[in-house]
């Protein structure tokens, strides 16, 4: 059975391996360049003492490669689209699954070997790409401290493996339910996008209760490391939220919300001591997920998608094993 799966899909598997090899070479070469670029910039700024601004002045690597790396966001979806859905759907559509079933292979074994190998391939490929991208992004992460943010979180660490498993399982399930290749592809793509978007936007911020810190306006506050900012703003003394400034502002407070003591400051004059005192009653707040929770979040999100994948495979098994051929 393994031989048959390999023989049927060897073209796709070879293409995938070639693409992976090309990506590996590209990222290895540019990654090493970026690393050395970063280290020499660090050495230079260390000597002159201007490292604080390094994040905004240094751009590592090239735009093209950077764009490509961002595009690896879509890689997991490809598994479902090019392997999962067509695999099962076309076999059911053309009836070729009957070939194996009538060659003394029970349906259970057919599904187990086919799905098992495809999931393994998806996890391996997804893991390889993710590993490469994580390594490649090392200097950039150290510089920008933004790996927790959506868009970067999704392409590094272990979550891409979870997405790949999910996409493959979704493709297999759609293929088994829909039984026609093109509709199954559509269902897989739509399902993948919807679920990924929903989890990123609505679930991920709440895996663990976010931390909120209020601080005096004058002191300001920046959490350490690669934190993920969820909300930030200023609260007036009464507790209400001060709207974001749109034009003239003093210390981040828009002119319309300034206390009376700062009326003069509104027109551009430096705030006097009474204004300062009034402003002290205002507080800034920041709601965020601390950097230390990065791997916890990676683990939770991986778990969610792995569980979804398992559920989809279970549904696929029920559909295929119970239904008539």
């Amino acid at each position: 059975m393994t031989w048959l799966v390999w023989r049927l899909h060897r073209t796709q598997l070879c293409i995938a391996a070639a693409l992976l090899a090309a990506l590996t070479v590209l990222l290895l070469v540019t990654g090493l360049q970026m690393a050395s670029q970063y280290h020499s910039a660090l050495a230079a700024c260390g000597a002159s003492g201007s490292c604080a601004n390094l994040a905004s002045t240094l751009f590592l690597g090239s735009h093209a490669v950077g764009f490509l790396v961002i595009m690896t966001l879509g890689v997991p979806a490809l598994f479902g689209l090019f392997w999962g859905a067509p695999l099962v759907a076309s076999e059911l559509e053309t009836g070729t699954s009957q070939f194996a079933w009538m060659q003394s292979v029970t349906r259970r074994r057919w599904l187990a070997v086919t799905a098992g190998e495809m999931l393994l391939a998806a996890a391996a490929w997804g893991g390889a790409v993710s590993g490469l991208v994580t390594w490649w992004s090392g200097p950039d992460n150290a510089l920008q401290l933004d790996q927790f943010k959506p868009g970067r979180f999704d392409i590094m660490g272990i979550v891409p493996v979870g997405y790949a498993l999910f996409a493959m399982a979704l493709g297999l399930c759609a293929g088994a339910l829909v039984r026609r290749t093109l509709p199954a592809l559509a269902v897989t793509l739509a399902g993948f996008i919807v679920v990924r978007a929903a989890v990123t936007l609505w679930l991920r911020p709440h895996y663990l209760s976010a931390v909120t810190v209020t601080y005096k306006l004058f002191s300001g506050y920046t959490p350490t490391g690669s934190y993920w900012q969820l909300a930030q703003g200023i609260r007036s003394p009464g507790g209400g939220l001060v709207p974001a400034p749109n034009g003239a502002a003093v210390d981040g407070i828009p002119v319309g919300s300034l206390p009376r003591a700062c009326a003069a400051a509104a027109s551009g004059i430096r705030p006097g001591p009474s204004c300062r005192q009034a402003l002290a009653a205002f507080h800034g707040f920041i709601t965020y997920q601390p950097a230390s929770r990065y791997w916890a979040f990676q683990g939770i999100e991986f778990g969610i998608f792995a569980a979804l994948a398992a559920a989809l495979i279970a549904v696929t098994a029920v559909v295929l094993l119970r239904r008539d051929a």
Partner: protein
């Protein structure tokens, strides 16, 4: 001798009892009780929609019955490698991988089946001059069917179930297909159930028949015995209740002066008023399929119409 052959101790390849299959509101097969002894080539005949495909799929284990029992190759059909290895199933939509070659399929078979005779496939295809290394999708319909048959036979099944496999083939391809089939049975250890509309082919190669109509079994038995049991009786129009009481009248047609009957005899028909003649397989099949009077009967009734 056209005689009774069935011996109780002959092993049966198929035995069903009250078998039925219902899809939601449609009853595809009901109360099907048949026996197929081992070593037979059985013809499965009936009009479209009578349940032939359903019966074959039930026997192959591709679908589960909603009622009744069936024993195939001594066991109940189930998803089990040992059972699957004993069954060969070939449908009209032959499920071969179009992009793979015959040789690829042979190698796949070696990996998938516990018992596999790949050399027999190569020999058969070479004898038919079918290329082994071309994609199967590029072969003609007849060659496609031959490849599928050879692959199915290579797993050495005990029972072969064929669902109109020759319908789309030209006469020569059909002949070759049936010759290979008959040869495989001659080699021993194989029973075949073959569904087809081509009565001439069936007459040639089959020695057993299962006739389905309206999702029920109408006839099941050795063809020689079935033909011996039936007769066409033609005679002047008179009271036929005696005959109808003693024998089973399958087809009855009356003109003002003549009556024609196709009966299933329960013993000899001793009525000198009637001319008796043998029934051909085609007449028998048509009569039970209910598609109108067999050709011989049509001829006779038209004579009566002239008066």
């Amino acid at each position: 001798m056209i005689g009774v052959q069935a011996v109780p101790e002959v092993a049966t390849a198929i035995r069903t009892s009250g078998l039925s299959k219902r899809y939601r509101r449609v009853c595809a097969l009901s109360d099907c009780t048949i026996t197929v002894p081992e070593g037979r080539i059985s013809a499965l005949v009936g009009p479209n929609g009578a349940g032939k495909t359903t019966l074959l799929r039930l026997l192959a284990g591709l679908t589960r019955p909603t009622g009744g029992d069936l024993i195939v190759n001594g066991g109940v059909p189930r998803q089990d490698p040992a059972f699957l290895a004993g069954i060969g199933y070939l449908a009209q939509e032959i499920p071969l991988y179009r992009r793979l070659s015959a040789e690829d399929h042979i190698r796949a078979g070696a990996h998938l089946n516990p018992c596999w005779d790949g050399e027999s496939v190569r020999e058969r295809l070479k004898a038919l001059t079918i290329p082994l290394d071309r994609a199967v999708g590029t072969l003609s319909g007849g060659q496609h069917a031959q490849v599928a048959l050879a692959l199915t036979l290579a797993k050495r099944p005990r029972l072969l179930l064929l669902d109109e496999p020759v319908a789309a083939l030209d006469p020569l391809a059909r002949r070759n297909f049936l010759a290979i089939l008959a040869d495989a049975v001659a080699a021993g250890g194989l029973t075949v159930v073959l569904s087809s509309h081509l009565v001439a082919d069936l007459e040639r190669v089959c020695d057993h028949m299962i006739m389905l109509a309206a999702s029920r079994v109408q006839l099941c038995g050795d063809i020689d015995a079935l033909l011996a049991e039936h007769q066409v009786l033609v005679g002047p129009r008179k009271d036929t209740s005696a005959i109808e009481r003693d024998h089973r009248v399958v087809l009855l047609s009356r003109t003002p002066r003549q009556v024609t009957m196709l009966v299933r005899r329960n013993g000899p028909v001793i009525d000198p008023a009637f001319q008796a003649s043998d029934v051909s397989l085609e007449e028998l099949v048509l009569a039970y399929m209910g598609q109108g009077a067999p050709p011989a009967l049509t001829q006779l009734t038209s004579i009566g119409d002239d008066q």
